[in-house]
Amino acid sequence: MSQPIVLVTFSCLTGETEKLALSAAVGAVQARALIRLRRIPDVDLASTNAEVVRMRREYIPPAEADVVGADALIFAAGNGTDALSTPWQEFLNLLLRLSKEDKLGRKVGASIGGVPAALGGLGFLTVTQLSSDPLALGRSVAEMARSLKSS
């Protein structure tokens, strides 16, 4: 059976939420999933903060193909994140459209930190925060996606 694909999408300006996202990704890999890591683009494109510049270089933003191709999605944002920042809103709009097209219904969803509550209404099989430990969360999400894929 093919491996489930877990898309981990996060927003981060300091490197802290990135650590949570990486930890969730490692958990998914431990559960033998393939992972894709994507970062929500910055609002402030002029920022020269070293961490922001590094993350901008290392990550690409989530695309429709990433969402459609994934069996599970994990969203991570800091608790202070402006849930309705323009880049997040654009991503939410994409998810909303895919939801209306019934393209999210057989995907697992989970979140870490201050991700918009709006994600709850998009039709994922579960958006419950399964664990406060991102590593365990990543594992659980991957395992759930695997059983869903094989059912």
Partner: protein, 232 residues
């Protein structure tokens, strides 16, 4: 028996920021005749443009060895490791239960030329680890310097395999005994050399089976730098 793999027979991919030659099937290059040699699964000869690199991606159950010929690579991973790797150093990452890492050219002006090697581990689910050691350039001149193995003064891998490097001047030679049943893979990473009197150019490789000895010699005007794998 010695089987040659000429440089031009390798897989090739040029994405602009990354120019790679694949000794074995990798990514979009797939050749059922070149899937690896014993536990050796990947040898990628990569040239990465300044400031460019591989964004965060995952590995599981693989021993990943990186050897830089020119330039410097910046490594970051989910274990919190952050290191710069340069010539006369070797980095080994045991992916084990799972790891996410990125690798970028640490320079904004100079290309990095590196060899990435994947070796299948003898067992799955080991605890992920990162090792990096430096050695004096003299340690590889005219002799074999162990870069990775199951034990010894090298990075430690979870496989009964040993990776050596040597830099040989013209007509300078080193000899390595192969125990019964073991095989060797020889990869010329710089210059020219011979293996058991067969001439190899840069990028060429040779697989040796049922041989009791490997004799490497520098050839041409400059000699060469060679990686030697001793595999069960």
């Amino acid at each position: 028996m010695i089987t040659l793999l000429k440089s031009a027979e390798r897989g090739h991919s040029n994405r602009g920021w990354l120019d790679s030659y694949f000794s074995f099937s990798f990514a979009d290059y797939h050749d059922p005749k070149h899937m690896g040699f014993r536990a050796l699964r990947v040898i990628n000869d990569d040239r990465i443009q300044p400031g460019q690199g591989f964004g965060p991606h995952a590995h599981r159950d693989m021993e990943i060895i990186t050897y830089v010929l020119d330039g410097h690579l910046l490594h970051r991973d989910s274990m919190g490791e952050r290191h710069i790797l340069g010539p006369n150093e070797v980095q080994t990452m045991s992916a084990g239960t799972g790891i996410v890492h990125s690798e970028f050219n640490a320079s904004d002006t100079e290309e990095v030329h590196s060899i990435q090697i994947w070796i299948l581990p003898s067992r799955e689910d080991v605890t992920p680890s990162y090792q990096q050691i430096a050695f004096s350039p003299h340690e590889k001149k005219g002799q074999l310097r162990l870069l990775a193995g199951p034990q010894g003064d090298a990075t430690i891998i979870h496989q009964d395999a040993r990776l050596y490097v040597t830099e040989l001047a013209p007509k300078q030679a080193v000899r390595h005994n192969l125990a019964a049943g073991r095989g060797a893979w020889v990869q010329v990473v710089r210059g020219t050399a011979s293996v058991n009197e067969l001439n190899l150019s840069e990028g060429d490789a040779a697989a040796l089976t049922e041989e009791s000895e490997v004799t490497l010699a520098g050839t041409g005007e400059q000699g060469g730098e060679i990686l030697l794998f001793d595999l069960r």
